[in-house]
Amino acid sequence: MSAAPLLSVRDLGVTFHAPRTLLGRRARNVQALDKVSFDIHAGEIVGILGESGSGKTTVGRCMVRLQRPTAGHISFEGCNIQALSGADPGWYCRQVQMIFQDPAASLNPRLRVRDIVAEGLDIHRIGTRESRREAVIDLLASVGLGADALMRFAHEFSGGQRQRIGIARALAVGPRLIVADEPVSALDVSVQAKVINLLRSLRERLGLAMAFISHDLPTVMFLCDRVIIMYLGRVMEIAPIGAFRMQPFHPYSRTLLALAPGLRQGGEERIPPTPDHSTAAPDLHHGCAFRNRCPHGTAACATVVPPMKQITPERWVACLRPEIFHDAC
């Protein structure tokens, strides 16, 4: 991982400004992302794991420029993607594509599969009309669909097949990075396995890098090389999967690992107390986001925002007391 990263996220922040209410009052602004930093290298699958409200989807939307960050920046091969101008935004679109969670809602119901998959090729004027047609057939074949799919509409397909169409569309412009936002969570278990296998084989065949956004720890552990754990808009931990499984450092990571069905082993962490949602999330201007659920919190955890510390060359953790677990291993 010493080579320059494909994509770098640095100190990314997104604040959603709450609209005025009918009475003209301002609700609280929501800090969806707070100083998020990580790298994605060419050809690797990085899992971005978090619960609802963790900001994992917002990070993904920033990466494909669907969301404008309010702080920090993202660079792709050294180019700041917010500062692109002229023909460059189009160039960036061809480098980074997205796969969405709900394959039914993300495919245009009025277009035939041929046109859905070819839309990117048409927009970027890639190839001739004839070569595009060939390309679409090849793309469909690469995701396991036959040429008979060309003239059909999205509603004629099952959920798993629709997700394949969405993947073919993302692959059409020859991206080097795919942002996949919960691509299998709407699918049946047996169909999930097929799509996971497809994503893995695409990485091997095409050398794609992938940001796999998910809430499902076992799937991330199976598919990904590294994992980024997010909680309430912040990164809690970054680790290679194998090391993470052996020894998660952040108390929140330990909780997730202890609670994942089927992963539970001896020495189980207690389920942390429910945060009382009537008092809402903790004050995020001071202290650790996880502090009121953390069994190891100290007074300092309520005042100091834990910086990301590099524990080993490949591992980062945002905890004031990483030594409580680090020493154990």
Binding site: V189, S190, A193, L217, F222, D225, R245, L259, P261, T274
Partner: protein
Amino acid sequence: MAASCPVLLAEGLNIHFHTRRGVVHAVDDVTFDIYPGEIVALVGESGSGKSVTSLSIMGLLPRIGHIAGGRLVFQPAGHAPVDLAAAPERTLRKIRGGGIGMIFQEPMTSLNPAMTVGEQIAEALVLHHQADRRAAVARAADLLAAVGITRPQERVGSYPHQMSGGMRQRVMIAIAIACRPALLIADEPTTALDVTTQAQILEILKQLRRDTGMAILFITHNLSLVEAFADRIMVMYAGQMVECGNARDVMMAPRHPYTKALLDCLPVRHLGMKGDAARPGLPTIPGHPPDLAHRPAGCAFAMRCGRAHDACRTGHPDLQMVNAAHGHATRCIAWRGMNVAAGA
């Protein structure tokens, strides 16, 4: 489980849907029982008939569907048995929310956004127990406390939008248990929730089962979730019950090729201790479930089953007893030769 009389007995249940494509046999000859204090999981993928089965118990089938055969005998302790499949709407109304409580997947759409949660819990008590409105609201606070909501006295006055997803699901459970049901039907109650919240909701359901002795029918697509939670597991495929037994037996030594294939699809069963890229892909199940309007002859899983032989494609396999003492049964005629080891 010690009680002699099941709180619910489904016997030869058949449910048909009349569609433009013909009659869809959504549930085909399903038989099962649930005893007081038992947690039984009904597991299946979409279209397997698990939700239709639960809706039929509550008499909530959509208009195009009806119970075409079989009985659904509901018998809470100390009451006369009622066949829900034949009971008039008036009787069903008394049982819904009374003897049988129900919680659904999406707590936001199941709650009334214009009523406080206290009023919604009290509504069930007023309706079924003719409780005095004020007493009912007081009891609502007790119920909120029972499902682990802090400061329940203040929370009875909250509206659903002021609560998080996990809190709303707790409110749903409070409504469902308000009239001390003998049976709670939980249809994917944790699917929309975060893992940490999910674990808490399952813990609350277990606690309620211990405290009240109610039975729980837990409907889910998530096999790994029920392993530690359910006493018994019933697996549905294409409208039929293909395997049932103790949770441990079914998870550790499945005796139906579909159950085994479904378990093998789970990423959690293929995690080595090292994240190596050379790991083989996940096993998958070839093909699709059959069209239930044109059910093929023979075993419904035969065309996707690597072990199927000629006898599987003719005749209808009945449930075969694997272990009578454990109540482990499979709808596979070739179960004896199965290698149950994971990934085999």
